[in-house]
Symmetry: none
Subunit: 190 residues, 4 copies
DNA sequence: CATGAATGAGATTTCATTCAT
DNA sequence: AATGAATGAAATCTCATTCAT
C-alpha cells in the first residue's frame, strides 16, 4: 500500500486542512475530504488505512513542516535577541502563511492524545527553544524567571498578534511586526 | 406537573463540557452526553430541539458566564494598573477554574459561525476592555501603540500562563501570578 | 377509565379528522392530535388506552354516524326511484358536509383490517342498500344485472360528483344534484 | 465501477407498493422496504436522499406509468364510443393489473401536496380525456351536460367495478366488462 | 489504481407510552 | 382528571469501511 500519486496526496492534505479551517473537526467526513480533493471516497483507502490514520499522518506532516519553518534562519550564529526575534517572526509568518494547517493542528491535538513520535517532535522544538532562552537568561539579557514564563510570553504574543492580523484588525506589514515584537521583548528583557 | 428540572440542565451542561475537554468535539455524541448526565438520550430533546441547538445554547451560556467572571471587581474606581491586573487575574482564574468550559468554547467557536448575540457579547467585553486600555494610554501609563497590541499582550500572556499552570509546569500560586503579570506589564507600560 | 368530558372527546375527534384530511395518516401523531385538540398528550390516555384504540373508536363512531346519515329519510314508504334518489343525495351530502370524516374513514380502512363490529356495520348498510336495489330490479324498474353493478354505479357516481363539487369544479347546488343523479339513473334504469 | 442497479430500483418499487397495499402508509418504514427488497436500509439512501424523496419518486413513476397505460390504443382513429370504451377498459385493467401501484398512488396523494410535474401530468390526461368527451358531446352522441359530469360517470364506474372485481364479488371476465361498461354508457349517451 | 455501490454499526431524532405530581 | 417530564423502542439518517468491477 505504497502511495504513488503525490499530487493526490497533496490535494487530500489541502482539502482536509481547508475543511477543518472552515468548520472544524466535528463535521469532517471522508466523503467531504474526497469531494474537496476531487477523488472518490474509497480512493482515500489506497493512501491511508483509516480515517484516524489519515488524520494522524496529516498531523505529523504538519508538525514537521511547522518545526522546519520555525527554526529556519535562527541558528546559534545570531545574537540572542536577534535569534529570538527571528523565531518570533518565523512563528508569526508560519501562522499567517499556513492558517488552515495551524487550525488543523490545534483542533486535532486536543482531540487526540498524541502519538509518541508527535510528542517527541513537539518536545524537540521546545528543547531547542528553551536553549535559546536559557542562554539569554544566563547572559542577563533576559529576565531571571522560570523559562516557561519567557516561552509563554513569546507564544502568547505571536498567537494573538497573528489572530489580529488574520482578522484584518492589524495590517500585515513591517510595522506590525516591529511593534508586536517590541512589546514582547519588553516583557522578556532583563 | 413536574417542572423542567434545573438540576438536569446543569448536569447536561457539566457532562458536555467534561466530554469535550476529554476528547474534543469530534467524537461527542448525544448518547455519551446523556449517559454522563445520567438521563435517557431522548430526554435531551425535552431540553433542546437538536444536537446543534444544545451545543449552541451551552456555548451562549458559557460565553455569558465567562463575561461575568472577567469583569468582576474591575470597576472604574481602581487605578489603571490595578484594573488591568484585576482583569488579568480574572482571565487567568477563569481559565483555571473552568477549564472544561473554556475548552468547550474554544473548540466550538471554530466549528460554528457565531450567532448574532454571541458576537454582540464578545464585542461588549472587547469594548469595555478597550476603554480601560484607552484610558491607560491617554495617561501615558501604557505604550502609545494601537490598542490591539496591548490587548493581544494581555490575552496571550494569560492564555499561555494558564496553559502552563494547567499542565502542571508552573505552580498554581501567588508567585506565578505575580511573575506572569509582571512580564505582561513590562510589555504594556510606557 | 370512563371518559367524563364530552367536549374533550369531541375536540379529539375533530382534531383527528382535520389532521388526517390535511395530511393523511402517515404523519399523524398523538402529539399533533393533542395539540390540535388543545389538551396534553398524556390526557389522551385518559380517554383511550392506546393510539390504535383511539383511531379504532373514532372509526367506529364515524361509520355509525355515516350509516345514520345515509339511511335518513329513505324508508320503504318511498317509491324505488325516490328512495334511491334520496340515498344518492344522502351519500352526496354526507361527503360534502363531512369531508374530513370521510377522508379519515377511507384512509383508515385500508390501513387496518377492520374490527368485527365495523365489518358488521358495513355489511348492514350494504344489506339495506341491496334490498332497495333488489326491489327495484324485481319490479323491472332497474336493469336485470347483478346487484353489485347497480350499487357500483351509485357509489361511483356519488363519489366522483362529490369530488368535483369539493374541488369547486361543479357548483354545490340543486342543478348539480339533478344532473348528477339523472346520469346515474340512466345507468340503472331498465 | 458498478452501475446503479436497475433491478434494485425495481425491487424497491415493488416492495414499497406491496407493503402499502398490505397495510397502508401509516406503518411503512424504510426498514420494511429494505427488508422486502432484499437490501440494507442504508442502501436505500444511495438511490434516494430521504424517505420523502423515495415516496415522491415512486409516486411520480407510478403516475407516469398509469398515464401511459390509460391512453394506450385509444387514438383518434376510433369512433367516440369505441374510444371511450377503450379508455374505460384501460382504466379497469390498469386497476386490476396494478392494484398495489394504485393503492399506493391513492394513499399517497392525500398525504402530500402534489409536486408541480405531477399536477401537470394529471392535467394532461384530463385534457386528453376531455377532448374525447367534448367530441362525443358535439356529435350529439353524449348527453349535453357539463363535461365533468361525463368524466365523473366513467371514473366512478371504473373505480367501483374494479373494487368489486378485486374483492372477488364480480368475476374478472368479459361479461363483467360488457355489463359494467353498458351501465356506464347508458349514463353517458344522449 | 481507482471507483461507485453496498453495508453494518452507530448517531440523531421521533413518538407512543408511562411516571410523578 | 390533567399535565409536563421522562423514557425505551424504533425510525430515519450518516458514515467509515468493504466489495466488485
Amino acid at each position: 500500500m505504497k502511495p504513488k500519486d503525490d499530487k493526490k496526496l497533496a490535494s487530500i492534505e489541502r482539502a482536509t486542512y481547508a475543511l477543518v479551517q472552515e468548520s472544524g473537526l466535528m463535521p469532517l467526513t471522508l466523503a467531504a475530504i474526497a469531494r474537496a480533493a476531487g477523488i472518490a471516497t474509497s480512493t482515500l483507502y489506497i493512501y491511508y488505512p483509516s480515517k484516524e490514520a489519515l488524520l494522524d499522518a496529516l498531523y505529523e506532516r504538519a508538525k514537521s513542516a511547522t518545526f522546519e519553518r520555525l527554526t529556519r534562519g535562527a541558528g546559534t550564529e545570531l545574537a540572542p535577541k536577534l535569534r529570538i526575534r527571528q523565531i518570533w517572526l518565523n512563528m508569526l509568518n508560519n501562522r499567517l502563511d499556513h492558517p488552515a494547517e495551524m487550525v488543523f493542528q490545534e483542533q486535532y491535538v486536543s482531540s487526540r492524545f498524541m502519538s509518541e513520535s508527535n510528542r517527541e517532535l513537539g518536545k524537540r522544538f521546545v528543547r531547542e527553544f528553551d536553549e535559546v532562552l536559557e542562554a539569554g537568561r544566563r547572559d542577563h539579557i533576559l529576565k531571571a524567571v522560570a523559562l516557561p514564563f519567557l516561552g509563554a510570553c513569546i507564544l502568547g504574543s505571536v498567537r494573538e498578534t497573528a489572530r489580529l492580523v488574520a482578522a484584518g484588525i492589524l495590517p500585515d506589514d513591517e510595522s506590525t511586526r516591529t511593534t508586536g515584537f517590541q512589546l514582547c521583548w519588553d516583557a522578556l528583557k532583563a
